[in-house]
């Protein structure tokens, strides 16, 4: 595919939560992210697709600060966060999940959920001794929120389970719920239904849609085409570290370049 085929993403959107400008990242000789500029508009579910190795996870790692970029910028709500640590970016409202579910050893689902809200008063040793009642009040509220959220996600019965005993799909749900408790401006989900059975995947789709209707912005990487085509609009297509195109699900589906990229790309 010649370079001219890479049309890039739509820029100049109205109310932008997350913006990347000419992001670049190379691993040795391999350019995994090659001048990526995208914008995510507030209130959308923006999808991100691309063949294996296109650089989707790498882009997430750059946006969330887990990888250091070689060049370019990341902006959240108009503020440049390129030099911030991952936890500082999360505090700015940019929260991600991971492609492989992270299991918290020795923690119940309730505990694992309660790590989400932040910053909590009870995370300061000083408060634990000198404003115990504030800690109690906040902890009660957080426990209540956890219970409601798990019930809403129809996994309320799992609250006492060791989090290591959950199935992959249940874990993905807990992760989604926990990420939501951080009260993020934008949630980045890396393959939220990878390895999840179709019924649970449908549930997850429904919950994401519900949260979105309440105003939550999402940027979602997903391999499952029917899933993401049904859920997201717009969809950004990544290929070989570059943005191939951006468009509605229909536009993406019928785009020759996208088909070519998925069929193996390197034609004559």
């Amino acid at each position: 595919m010649n370079d001219g085929a890479y049309e890039g993403a739509h820029l100049g959107k109205d109310d932008v939560v997350l913006k990347t400008t000419d992001l670049e990242k190379a691993f040795g000789g391999l350019v995994a992210t090659d001048g990526v500029s995208i914008e995510v508009e507030r209130g959308t579910i923006t999808g991100m697709i691309g063949p294996n190795g296109a650089g989707k996870s790498t882009l997430f790692n750059l946006i969330s600060g887990f990888y250091e970029n070689d060049a370019g910028h990341v902006t959240v709500n108009g503020e440049d966060v390129t030099d911030l640590e991952p936890h500082e970016r999360a505090r700015k409202g940019l929260v991600r999940t991971f492609q492989t579910p992270r299991r918290l050893e020795g923690m119940s689902v309730r505990e694992a959920m309660l790590v989400g809200p932040g910053p909590q008063k009870g995370e300061s040793i000083f408060s634990l001794f000198f404003s115990g009642s504030d800690v109690t009040e906040e902890e009660r509220a957080n426990i209540e929120q956890t219970r409601e959220l798990l019930e809403r996600f129809e996994i309320g019965h799992l609250i006492d389970q060791p989090s290591t005993d959950l199935s992959g799909g249940q874990m993905k749900l807990v992760e989604l719920a926990r990420a939501f408790t951080t009260d993020p401006d934008i949630l980045l989900l890396d393959e939220p239904v990878a390895g999840v059975n179709p019924t649970l995947a449908n549930d997850i789709k429904r919950f994401i849609r519900e949260l979105n209707e309440e105003g939550q912005t999402f940027l979602i990487i997903e391999h499952d085409m029917p899933f993401i085509m049904d859920l997201a609009d717009p969809i950004i297509v990544l290929d070989q570290g570059k943005v191939l195109m951006e468009g509605s699900p229909d536009e993406v589906r019928s785009d020759d370049r996208v088909i070519e990229a998925y069929l193996g790309g390197a034609g004559p």
């Binding site: 936890h87 790590v115 009660r140």
Partner: protein, 374 residues
Amino acid sequence: MSAVSTWVSETLVRDPTERRIFAVLGLITVLLVVGVLTGVIGPRFLLFQIALVGMYALLSLGLNVQWGYAGLINFSVAAFWGIGAYCAALLTAPNSPLGLGLHPVFGFLAAIVVSAFIAVLIGIPTLRLREDYLAIASLGLAEVIRAIILNERQWTAGSSGISGIPNLMSWLPLTDAATTAAIVVVLIAVVYLFLRRVHRSPWGRVLRTIRSDEDLAKALGKNTYQFKMQAFVIGSVIMAVAGAFYAHLNLYIDPSDLVPLTTFYIWIAVILGGTGSNRGAVVGAAVVIAIREGTRFLNDIGFIQTLGIDLAPLRLLFVGGLIILIMRFRQDGLLPPKDELIWPAARDESSTGGASPSGAVPDGGTASNGGDDR
């Protein structure tokens, strides 16, 4: 009486195996008391051993904050212990190279300040990096501290050590041995209650998250570096307090105890007791020291003398064998952590009806089935 047994069964004992462990511990206590009453064991000797076990329990509690709570690999337990011991000895012994002869309170204060300072110094370059960096740096620190004490004779008296360290609170109407034993019990109680409060809280929860997945904690907006630093400093300070106490227990200190073996014993105690569990750290320390001290007398037993072998030097072998046994039959240690890390005052009213009052994580099952998912 029944109130006491309810308290014991709800806060200390959580499953049948724990009941057996506590029964064995109770039996040993009874035997020791009987031993003293019948004159087989000298009370002075026993009180000294209690103080010694207590000191190791403090060290284990300190390491448990670092490794058990936060997953920090610290191989310089002996160094922080030595820092505490030397702070106490140098400031309080009239014939130390500093010759100050200050009140013991200043020794303890210096132990706290100096150990906190050195912990921060080691933490700054290593805690931002992968976990193995702290492990390596702490190995180095242990040797550096030992070398400094050995070589800076004008300050530390080198290998000849410091004697004449005063007893603690000798104005108490007790024998010196009883006083030190009482003091260590109080120290353990204070540290234990402090740790209990900070552990079952959002703070403890973040540390446990860091221990199993630091990236996840970061992604949720936690400043993991700061949390790890706090755990590292708290643990190191507890170790230094144990060291300062030891100086006043032994009344003499030299660098020969600052060897890696001390660190090794503490690691064993924490793992044996149940990583992450404060109760476990205390019991683990007691077991390790009981074996270490108990095996000293093996050669005195007539039967073994007739075999003509020297058993005492084999005590590391006993410790090793015990670890293998426990890890085989009770993977998570003698008394693994049971409590959910939730602020207790908040859970009484608002936790779900399904939660049992004492630790809802059903790890009775996980612990005893030898589950490989932990």
